[in-house]
Symmetry: C2
Subunit: 155 residues, 2 copies
């Protein structure tokens, strides 16, 4: 039986591991162990106060007493935009991770449903995420579409 | 002769007009005059304190005493990521607009060069933007690439 609970400060190491594993599994270029380790060290410092004050929130799924999946959520400040003309916030979904042995059973979809409902409950109607190659089909099936975001490494 | 200067609080209405015209020219679906007017009203309220405190910055290009183009910039809080493992910030470029009669003369490229340099000067090495159909080729020519961002209208 799978149960879910909100993330708490005690999940700090777990969330860092989920984020690192998520990026490692994506097999995207430029994601060496060295880069991922540096990212996780910085991310740990970044997320700790945000777990404390609740500006980073989300859910953990457990089965038979073991953590099997997780999702992170934030409400980010954003300029009012044609997709949300009367709101200056966007929901952001991040660190979606399912243990490899528990994949293809709908856990990510279940966590996404919880996450989307929580963003809506907080009065925010538009959300974004960045999809790994693995996550993309799942998001497409539930109404997420590609945006026109571009990026550049400046130095 | 084209000159550039930093944006100031006195450019509030101008920036709002640039943003609205930029979205109108993009011809993307869901951008009726009604939606754009609502967006601009909210955006005006949103940007005013940010122009005051400098968290929204950027440049205006002028030629013969008339404004011909503009660019907006922000440094946004972002979780450390494999593309910027030791930084918890991203540069954000927005509201890039060139008056229709002054297009195809390199004004946007000039403003982007200024903007990228200013983001770098502030110690931030990775930047994002959202490209309109019109802007996209220009950004591609200067090293910007598509990201994996996805979005969803939740209600």
């Amino acid at each position: 039986m799978v149960t879910t609970r909100p993330v708490s400060l005690g999940d700090l190491d777990l969330i860092c591991r989920h984020r690192e594993e998520m990026f490692r599994a994506s097999n995207a270029p430029g994601r060496s162990d060295e880069v991922l380790s540096a990212m996780t060290r910085s991310f740990r410092v970044w997320i700790e106060p945000r777990l404390r004050d609740g500006s980073y929130f989300g859910y953990i799924a457990e089965e038979d007493g073991a953590v099997v999946a997780g999702i992170g959520l934030m409400i980010i400040d954003w300029p009012p935009h044609p997709s949300h003309p009367n709101e200056d916030k966007r929901g952001y979904v991040l660190n979606v991770f399912v243990e490899p042995s528990r994949r293809k059973r709908g856990l990510a979809t279940m966590l996404m449903r919880l996450g989307e409902a929580e963003i809506t409950r907080r009065g925010v109607s538009f959300a974004i995420l960045h999809a790994t190659r693995m996550g993309r089909p799942l998001y497409e099936q539930t109404g997420w579409t590609q945006t026109v975001e571009m990026s550049k490494q400046l130095k």
